[in-house]
Symmetry: C2
Subunit: 340 residues, 2 copies
């Protein structure tokens, strides 16, 4: 079984965009906010949005299950206030739930959280609990910068975040560290902001004792860990200079990397420097890069091909990367799959 | 000849810190500012600061010349105002000039610019011209975020920066894109802010037509290009999706990467995906990582060893990386070396 731990619903039916347009237009005049009940999307519209995209690629590429969440750049926690974010998150999560009900063998849900700049993350506990306990989701996406590129929240290692972590631990669900759209003209969303956030979060973890306080808390750093594996020597050296424990001991029981790296040399590096126990297969399809690489004739984001091509990985390691680690990190996954 | 294009004066004599302390303490009461003439550092103090560090490492590692600039995290453009920054930059640049005069075969200068948040980069032209024309420097360090982690300046591709670029082109000097200390608790200075800035600048270049406006403008992106080579497939794919030209055509006549990547797998990746014509040897010593890698027994930042160990690079490619490209990018270097 091949589990892709990082897929977003980036082919949403048009009525969702129209609802969001009306919601954002009404931010300064809440009386004009559209009612969630006014959003009508049929099952056929959902099927159609997936059949020619995510499902087609699953079939063509030979992957089985995608851990699926709302479009990351669409979370846009910087827009409006906590109420805006809660309404929008519930709608997006409910839509993921419908996808998972229509295709239970193909998709399992991960939720967007109703974060909002300056609002304590404890505010997200209700929606996390609803998504896990009622909708059967297995994790969440956690935005380390709800401002969208201004980076004015406390670091992920600050006690500001602890109430949410307590709930994650209680529910036994991991978070993928994932920012949303950048509204800072310095940061291109998918080319800079996403990758920077990955690198930033890792370094926050490296310099803190967060995992002493939460020994079972688990994070997935997407996009191959940002810059981290490429600079693994730098991070090992920084930790050593700071008299921190070796990275393996300090972080690797809690921090995992996905394989959203869109060329073979990058995947070779990732699998060379990061233990196979800490790598989860992912493609982010349909996502940041949609085209075909003229150098290979294959989709840039067909990351399974790269992993297949890494000859130094044993079959056992590939099994961990493709399936075993996802079952370990998303610990609720096993029970759900057993019921299928 | 082996030219290290990225060294900072990180072993400054103590009186420099004391001057800076007094300067910063007087920011709200400029009448109390120390006079630059009050800073006394002897030639012997300078020699002593280098003999056991940069010079020792040059000898031990077999490198010859370091392109040398003030401590990057010390630039701290976010402290004080433009006048604070100008006084501090002149002092730091003058000290580099003294180093280069004491050891003309070992060090050639690159300047810090007197940037200040919200102040137009045109403000830096005078100091750049002084350093190049009077002090014989061959380039500058350009901070894309003088705020120190708030990222509230226009992107490097904005016309805001153009007057400085016009002067760089006129003087025929490149800039290394290099942020300074982070005062944003989200960003660890050397573990996140530096690397993020590298990635951010590259993506700004990718999405702009800056190099149509300045065909001969040259930038070095340090720290191995941040996350860029590791995600080279992502960047090729993003450019293609945006209907931009191939990266080689779009950027690689103007953008170069250094080799400050502190482990062999990272250098292998860098030299595999980035053309040898675009890589400049650098170690950043004595810099971000000072320790010895227990896995190799050598200094993490002894990057020459990694390049020596890459068997897929031809002797001609290694010559470019170690010397040829530095002479090409820092075009004033050749004339200076010929006079030695």
């Amino acid at each position: 079984m091949i589990i892709d731990c990082h897929g977003h619903y980036t082919t949403e039916p048009a009525p969702l965009f129209e609802f969001r347009r009306r919601q954002v237009a009404a931010i300064d005049d809440p009386a004009k906010s559209p009612s969630p009940a006014s959003l009508k999307i049929s099952d056929d519209e959902i099927r159609e949005s997936l059949e020619g995209a995510q499902l087609k690629f699953q079939r063509e590429r030979g992957t089985n299950l995608t851990i699926f969440s709302p479009r990351a750049s669409g979370m846009a926690h910087h827009i409006g206030n906590a109420e805006t974010s809660l309404v929008w998150s519930r709608i997006c999560n409910d839509l993921i739930h419908r996808v998972c009900n229509l295709y239970p063998k193909n998709f399992i849900g991960v939720c967007q959280l109703p974060q909002s700049p300056g609002v304590a993350p404890a505010n997200c506990i209700g929606e996390l609990e609803r998504c896990v306990s009622e909708l059967g989701f297995v994790g969440c996406n956690l935005n380390p910068d709800p401002s969208g590129g201004n980076w004015n929240s406390p670091p992920l290692t600050d006690r500001w975040w602890y109430p949410l972590y307590e709930k994650m631990v209680e529910l036994d669900v991991p978070a993928m560290v994932h920012v949303s759209a950048s509204c800072n003209p310095n940061f291109h969303t998918t080319g800079a902001h996403y990758i920077n956030a990955d690198t930033t979060a890792f370094m926050q973890f490296l310099t803190s004792d967060l995992f002493k306080d939460f020994p079972t808390l688990k994070f997935i750093i997407p996009h191959g860990g940002g810059a981290v594996p490429y600079h693994w020597g730098r991070y090992r050296g920084l930790a050593q200079d700071m008299k921190r424990p070796p990275l393996k001991e300090l972080l690797l029981k809690n921090v995992y990397f996905d394989t959203c790296v869109y060329h073979l040399p990058g995947i070779e590096l990732l699998t060379k420097v990061i233990p196979a126990d800490n790598i989860l297969f992912a493609s982010e399809m349909v996502g940041a890069v949609k085209g075909i690489d003229p150098e290979t004739g294959n989709y840039f984001d067909d990351t399974k091909r790269y992993i297949d091509a890494v000859s130094s990985l044993s079959a056992a390691d590939k099994q961990k990367i493709f399936e075993g680690n996802a079952r370990k990190v998303y610990s609720r996954l096993g029970a759900k799959l057993a019921r299928l």
